[in-house]
Symmetry: C2
Subunit: 146 residues, 2 copies
């Protein structure tokens, strides 16, 4: 894939990742380190919990979205985020789900103070194998000029 | 710690976590799985990269913030996020940093459709050992009534 610079982006463009599977083992391992709560750790306790079954930590889904982004969007110099607006978890992520990322360009904002770069605003949606949006967010990425 | 219900929160309250250290090994292991880019993986390449030295993936910092939150805020039934506004990475997280979380209550919003719960809006700041805010966000948590 060819490296992408600020000049290569325009509003409405869509980039899509390949899918990536998440297993029960992945879910429990991530949660043990970062989100140790019964509904992310223990399938039996999870049945009685908020999500009615084992589900991934929302931060696990967000981290996987970053992995999918690095694979789908070859920004020159690397994918560097300045921040995120409106992160929402819309549906549980379950063991065996296959997640993919859809990135739509919303806006290109050249930097006033740094003429060698700008910000690209995106809508990112993480979808499961049934096309259900499980997470959405609007990140701002720092992108260099050519 | 006693479980916290919606009635226990009021604007201006502050909850603080204990600190937790992050090592170079942690940074590289997380990045290998979720954010495989040279500035998070390879100290030498990182010296020449965007962050001028090895730094943690922003999503690693966000995941650690969740761990600190689970330890600091014993919400009844578990810590469940509905979404996040204004997530910003403000300074690099380096190997050896000790991170802590400061949670300030901004607003309590009783649910209209679900009388058994509500939303608490927070300002969360992740600070390093020098008191520098490395990340901030405004999450919304789902909190049950007593």
């Amino acid at each position: 894939m060819q490296a992408l610079y600020l000049e290569d982006f325009e509003p409405g463009q869509v980039f899509e990742s390949k899918p990536r599977a998440i297993t029960a083992e992945d879910i429990v391992r991530f949660a043990s380190e970062f989100d140790p709560q019964p509904f992310h750790l223990d399938p039996e306790a999870a049945e009685r919990g908020f999500f009615r079954g084992l589900s991934a930590s929302g931060w696990h889904t967000a981290a996987l979205a970053m992995r999918l982004l690095v694979e789908a969007l070859p920004v020159a110099g690397g994918v560097v985020g300045a921040g995120v607006e409106a992160l929402e978890w819309k549906a549980p992520v379950r063991p065996g789900d296959r997640l993919s990322l859809r990135c739509q360009v919303l806006e290109i904002i050249p930097s006033r103070s740094r003429p060698d770069r700008g910000i690209v605003r995106f809508l990112h949606e993480v979808l499961n194998q049934d096309g259900v949006v499980v997470m959405s967010q609007r990140p701002k990425l720092v992108v260099p000029r050519r």
